[in-house]
């Protein structure tokens, strides 16, 4: 439907190439046209327009300033908007469009029980997991994970890490890239090995000077041997409220069975100074289905299973990234429509500016119009002259606006980088460039029409008498 380009040098070259091709085609077409009678007139009007605009360079520039600003705003805002949107979409896609995420949620009405019983029990169980496995072929993999907020230690260095007990397939789900070593394998789980894989940030903090592979990290009193380090990767944003942001770089992965064996079923969490103990078998289960069409049926099936198993206790939640993807895409469409609206407003404002100047020009050049009429110019010749003048102005304005807008797409993120900590993503929206050029021409025709007609309808005798 739409195409996106990263603001890279190659794409700038592509855009430039497209423009050059259009220009060559335009000149060629114009050459063909100029052999016909209407072409002669058009070319003459064009050179007339350029001449008279050149005579009032500053005024012409000021009058198209509205168009320039409007167009450049459209191009750059569109690029930043698309960039941010694309960022969010990529984020959701990283979670996997064929994934279903089932999480354990602490029931809100359980806080009183928690105080009484000291240990809160809720969430997904092994039994649930076994039920999920009955889906058969439509489910590719089921990846459970347990999360322990834990201090990890190497020598005197401490890191507040998120220790995640999981299965080897988690690497596939999250599409991890290893910087060194390997991820967990099946035998680590079976043999309950004390091994761990570090996120890039955890690795940097724990081993700023040493090679982490093969060294031991202490967590909750156990020593874990580092077998792999994961490359730095983009965190997923905490979009949609129900899902917390995931900062993968500070994670430490250990085999699921090892986590059960060493740390037990109880996960203790310190929150607001108080220590809370929770009995959770799995914090999250990620289910990958074989086909994108099966996401919803499987999701519904999971919901009905969980409703059956857990009854009224609403201690689970199913997140379907695909839903959010579609929602985000709808939001993007709305956003684009809004930008188009803003763009049309700014271009209308620019057009009114053009009309204003053109009316002034017509008044100022009344005598010239009279002279031309006396020497044989028809009404349509005068119309054409002033219309072409307006269109030339807005077209040049549109071109300047596109160039300025593209410049802003490249420069603003750099300046943004000096001030803000997070980057400003930008994606040049190529159709927007051509659309705004097209609209600029249209604005010239629309708002140049009335002044041009007014010039043409002047009474030649009156016009000749005008000072």
């Amino acid at each position: 439907m739409t195409s996106y380009l990263e603001p890279t040098q190659t794409n700038l070259l592509v855009a430039a190439a497209i423009l050059v091709v259009l220009l060559v085609l335009g000149v060629w077409g114009f050459g063909r046209l100029s052999r016909s009678a209407i072409g002669v007139k058009l070319r003459r009007s064009l050179s007339l327009a350029v001449k008279s605009l050149w005579l009032h360079k500053l005024r012409a520039f000021l009058s198209v300033l509205g168009i320039i600003i409007g167009t450049s705003a459209v191009i750059s805002l569109m690029a930043f908007g698309e960039g941010s949107m694309q960022d969010a979409l990529d984020d959701i896609k990283r979670q996997g469009a064929t994934n279903l995420i089932v999480r354990s949620v602490k029931p809100p009405d359980d806080s009183a029980t928690a105080q009484r019983s000291y240990v809160t029990t809720y969430g997904l169980t092994r039994r649930d997991l076994e039920r999920f496995e009955t889906f058969g072929d439509s489910v590719l993999r089921i990846v459970p994970l347990r999360v322990f907020p834990t201090e990890a230690r190497f020598l005197e260095r401490l890191v507040n890490a998120r220790v995640i007990g999981t299965t080897p397939e988690y690497a596939d789900v999250q599409k991890f890239q290893l910087a060194g070593g390997r991820f967990l394998i099946e035998s680590d789980n079976k043999e309950l090995l004390n091994v761990c894989v570090l996120g890039s940030e955890a690795a940097d903090k724990l081993f700023p000077f040493e090679e982490p592979l093969g060294r031991s990290v202490q967590m909750r009193g156990f020593d874990f041997t580092v077998i792999g380090v994961i490359q730095e990767r983009m965190p997923t944003g905490g979009s949609g409220g129900s899902q917390a942001a995931e900062e993968f770089n500070n994670d430490i992965y250990i085999p699921l069975e090892t986590s059960v064996a060493r740390f037990g079923e109880i996960i203790s969490i310190r929150s607001s100074g108080a220590r809370m103990n929770e009995r959770v078998q799995f914090n999250q289960v990620t289910i990958t289905v074989s086909d994108i069409d099966k996401v919803r049926p499987v999701g519904d099936a999971i919901k009905s299973i969980l409703e059956m198993e857990h009854g009224t206790k609403k201690d689970w939640a199913v997140t379907i990234p695909l839903d959010r993807l579609e929602e985000a895409e709808r939001a993007k469409t709305r956003f684009t429509n809004l930008l188009v609206l803003i763009a049309s407003i700014s271009l209308v404002v620019g057009g009114i500016g053009i009309m204003n100047i053109m009316l002034a020009t017509v008044t100022e050049r009344t005598r010239e119009i009279g002279i031309r009429r006396a020497l044989g110019a028809k009404q349509k010749d005068i119309t054409l002259q002033f219309l072409v003048e307006a269109v030339v102005q807005t077209t040049i304005g549109g071109l300047c606006g596109v160039i300025l807008g593209l410049g802003m797409v490249y420069v603003v993120p750099i300046v943004w980088g000096w001030v803000a900590s997070n980057p400003l993503p930008a994606k040049v929206h190529v159709p927007a460039i051509f659309l705004s050029l097209f609209v600029s021409v249209g604005v010239g025709v629309l708002f140049g029409w009335y002044p041009a007609r007014r010039a043409a309808r002047l009474d030649p005798i009156e016009a000749l008498r005008h000072d």
């Binding site: 005579l55 006396a374 044989g376 028809k378």
Partner: protein, 236 residues
């Protein structure tokens, strides 16, 4: 000689509020090909209105105007533009050159609206005309760099570029001093002698004496219509 211009029962009324001003009252006139006519009369006599109608810039309220064999009184705006472009040349009191154009470009201007291709041939023709009116050295000058007389000579060259059947002058010497006026009138007489039909409005007797025929208007009617026999004996 054949009548190149013939107006019959020409009436022009202007409506000013509730009042109707009768500027031309059933005027009947004809001018022959190759004639040199001076239209005279006090202000309000209708001479300018007549010139505007003859120049196809204005339409009569009623009556007919034959330019050659065609009645142009009922023509549309576009058709009138075409007539001006093809058959008429204009010389104005205030020269009416375009200040942003050079001498040659100003001379070329009427050709712009003839739908013909402007090339070296047309350019050469403009240059020749400029040379004819004695501006060979000033082809690339702009009007503001020229004296009044020179500007009017550019205007004369411009009025000739479309090889018109009829040249209309609206007080062509009105803004010029005596010496320059004489130069311009000599030029017009030269054109007339080479066969051009010229009709000009003037209110100066010594300018009118250059013409072959003087038509005086008063209150929208012809007051007198005389032929100059003293033509060529005007003191220089």
């Amino acid at each position: 000689m054949a009548a190149i211009v013939r107006v019959a029962d020409l009436v022009k009324n202007y409506h000013m509020g509730t009042q109707t001003v009768h500027v031309l009252k059933e005027l009947n006139l004809s001018f022959e090909e190759g004639d040199f006519v001076a239209l005279m009369g006090p202000s309000g006599s209708g001479k300018s209105t007549l010139l505007n109608i003859l120049g196809c810039l204005d339409k009569p309220s009623s009556g007919s105007y034959f330019l050659g064999d065609t009645n142009v009184a009922k023509m549309s705006d576009d058709q009138l533009s075409e007539v001006r472009s093809t058959y008429l040349g204009f010389i104005f009191q205030s020269y009416n050159l375009l200040p942003q154009y050079t001498v040659v470009e100003n001379i070329e201007l009427p050709l712009l609206y003839q739908g013909i291709k402007l090339d070296d041939t047309t350019r050469d023709r403009c240059i020749k005309l400029a040379e004819m009116v004695g501006l060979a050295e000033r082809l690339d000058h702009r009007p503001l760099q020229l004296s009044g007389g020179q500007q009017q000579r550019v205007a004369i060259a411009r009025s000739l570029v479309n090889d018109p059947q009829l040249i209309l002058g609206d007080e062509p010497t009105g803004n010029l001093d005596t010496k320059t006026s004489i130069e311009i009138m000599q030029m017009l007489r030269g054109l007339n002698q080479s066969g051009k039909t010229i009709i000009m409005v003037t209110h100066e007797n010594d300018i009118a004496e250059w013409a072959r025929r003087v038509v005086r208007l008063r209150d929208g009617r012809v007051e007198s219509d005389t032929r100059n026999d003293t033509r060529g004996t005007v003191a220089v």
